[in-house]
């Protein structure tokens, strides 16, 4: 009896120690995040105002604004979403539903996974060589969006594949049993069921694209720009590029301007993500009902 209780005690103790450890892990993460956010937000106080949101870049910290950056980012990310979404889902459907198991599929699969780990500057160099120069799109929003597309495609495809794979085969079989064709099964059963997973993957991929700076410098996004973009062939700048430019300035006030820029970047990210999350939740409800 006595042996049993000590064993029990030590096991309970172990359990509690483990609980404490994972609690510390969680708290550390939150503390680091909180420290970052507090420092950024406190620095941005007084700098983040309407003037900042509606002005173009300037050499004076007080006059400098992020309007060109916000519009540039929305243009690039919007176009990236339009191009990458069908491409990514199309590739995922092909790999999961149509392609036969074999060396070709394996090869494509390995390459996609590898591409997800390639440093983003490499994509920037590719974008400069292919889209800017060879295809002659110049230093435009289109070049930037195409570069971002190939940057996020691997992430998007892998996420969409995972989502499609998670659809129970019993549902596919049910659809076939009712006489549906493969295409009807994919559009009517598989995609709606997988949509929440696909959208989550898209959110993550877009979030990665929004924060990218290095490939944008490569394809020629400008740090100073005297106008806002009006079409996909215009020159542009993005929010992270503006932040990067401000943090490199000698004047200390620009660090506050950069902080305000970071808050705006977070807000834009949150806005785009929340749109995707609202869409996702709508789907989940429909699939359930």
């Amino acid at each position: 009896m006595s042996i049993n209780t000590t064993n029990m005690k030590s096991r309970k103790l172990k359990s509690q120690i483990f609980y404490a450890i994972i609690l510390i892990c969680t708290l550390t993460t939150i503390a680091v995040l909180a420290a970052l956010l507090i420092s950024v937000f406190s620095k941005s106080i007084g700098w983040l105002n309407w003037n900042f949101l509606s002005s173009l870049p300037s050499r004076f910290p007080a006059k400098s604004g992020i309007k060109a950056g916000i519009l540039g980012t929305l243009w690039v990310i919007g176009l990236t979403a339009i191009i990458s979404f069908p491409l990514g889902i199309g590739a995922a459907i092909y790999l999961e539903e149509y392609s036969k198991k074999g060396w070709l599929k394996e090869l494509i699969q390995i390459n996609i996974s590898n591409l997800a780990g390639v440093p983003s500057i490499i994509y920037g160099m590719l974008g400069l060589a292919v889209f800017v120069r060879q295809w002659g799109f110049g230093r435009s929003i289109l070049s930037g969006a195409l570069t971002m597309t190939i940057l996020i495609l691997p992430v998007l495809i892998v996420a969409a594949q995972e989502a499609i794979r998670s659809v129970p085969s019993s549902m596919r079989h049910g659809s076939y049993a009712l006489g549906a064709t493969q295409w009807q099964t994919i559009t009517g059963v598989v995609l709606p069921y997988a949509s929440s997973g696909i959208l989550t993957g898209t959110i993550l991929a877009i979030a990665r694209a929004i924060g990218e700076t290095a490939p944008m410098i490569m394809v020629g996004a400008a740090a100073f720009i005297s106008f806002v973009p009006g079409g996909i062939m215009d020159s542009f700048t993005t929010i992270p590029l503006q932040i990067y430019s401000w943090t490199g300035k000698p004047q200390a006030e620009f660090q506050n301007v950069a902080a305000a820029g970071i808050v705006v970047l977070l807000a834009v990210l949150l806005l785009i993500n929340s749109i995707a999350i609202i869409l996702r939740n709508k789907y989940q409800d429909r699939v359930k009902s």
Binding site: P57, S58, R59, L71, L74, W75, G78, L79, A81, I82, F85, P86, I89, V132, R133, G138, R139, T187, G188, L191, P192, S195, L199, I217, M218, G220, A221, A222, A223, F224, I225, S226, F227, V228, P229, G230, G231, S235, T237, S245, T247, G248, K249, P250, Q251, A252, I275, L279, Y283, R286
Partner: protein, 320 residues
């Protein structure tokens, strides 16, 4: 079916952004027409794309900002992909002006010829490469060029301050320098070590000069160098080192850099302009002239040193 709706929504969202941006753009252009119509007979239009050295970027940014106020229909973009990276874009015809914190290299001249790009070189300002130590460093009063070379040479054996001058403490020197892609790095290595890019390998490098400021400010035994503008904005955190180029120790100031007594570390900043664009596009000519007349007054404001007046006139003559 549902997927279609998502796509439609995304499409609608982007079009909405586009519409807003276009709308704003049109009104801005409208305002510009109204404003410039009063004081300018011929309105300049077009796009001027500039790229190149991040060191020259603040000057280009300031000039572009002021020029744009007077010529609202001219679109200007300034990037900072580095002196070398800027030239690449310049030769590819993607930019019509390239900022450089050093002279064009022979290799680059060959590339320009190959691409058929003709250019003129204009000096726009001086920068004094400043050598800095930590304020807690009480022993370093000045350094001679030979001592700098002893410290930074590729085969340098200097480990501690004592290795530089016998009376200095035997504490290890921590070295900070701009990254190898920067013109600042090229200029310093050429001026001190005699060959561009020749340097000992064991130093902390950063393309971001603010990182160097932080590094030197936080380490008692640090030694580093970067552009004068970064010293001006961080005077309280750093101690500047006088440099003896053979005529006694000189501290970099606006005066000593302009009159050339701060030698050999004061260097000119260049803007390379595409000759064809200069000849054929009035907005480019107007911009370049603006840069050398009104624009030069902005140089000290962003922490750089103006050229002597006579030299600006000389540069203007090159345009003819």
């Amino acid at each position: 079916m549902n997927l279609k709706k998502v796509l439609v929504l995304i499409l609608a969202f982007t079009m909405m952004i586009g519409a807003v941006a276009c709308g704003k753009n049109e009104t801005a252009a409208g305002d510009a027409n109204a404003a410039t119509g009063e004081n300018k007979a011929v309105e300049l239009t077009g796009t001027i794309s500039i790229d190149g050295s991040s060191t020259v970027f603040p000057i280009a940014e300031a000039i572009a900002e002021e020029f744009m106020k007077e010529n609202k229909s001219v679109k200007i973009t300034v990037g900072f992909s580095g002196t070398g990276g800027g030239f690449e874009k310049f030769f590819a015809g993607e930019t019509i002006m390239s900022n450089a914190s050093r002279h064009i290299k022979d290799k680059e001249i060959a590339k320009a010829k190959e691409a058929g790009v003709e250019y003129i070189e204009l000096s726009v300002a001086y920068d004094g490469l400043s050598v800095l130590v930590n304020p807690a460093n009480t022993w370093v009063d000045y350094l001679t060029v030979d001592e700098l070379k002893k410290i930074w040479a590729p085969d340098s054996t200097v480990k501690t301050w004592k290795d530089v001058r016998a009376e200095w403490p035997a504490e290890e020197i921590k070295l900070y320098a701009p990254g190898t892609d920067s013109g600042t790095f090229d200029y310093f290595t050429e001026a001190i070590n005699g060959k561009s890019g020749a340097i000992r390998p064991d130093f902390t490098a950063s393309e971001d000069d603010n990182v160097l400021v932080q590094g030197i400010a936080g380490d008692k035994n640090s030694l580093g160098f970067f552009g004068f503008a970064y010293y001006m904005e961080n005077k309280d955190k750093l101690k500047i080192v006088k440099i003896d180029g053979g005529k006694g120790p000189v501290e970099p100031t606006f005066e000593t850099i302009e009159n050339g007594t701060y030698s050999p570390l004061s260097r000119p900043m260049f803007v390379y302009v595409n000759k064809k664009a200069l000849a054929e596009r009035p907005e480019v000519k107007a911009y370049v002239e603006y840069m050398l007349t009104v624009g030069k007054e902005l140089v000290p404001e962003v922490g750089y040193v103006k050229l002597p007046e006579a030299q600006y006139k000389e540069e203007l003559n090159k345009l003819k």
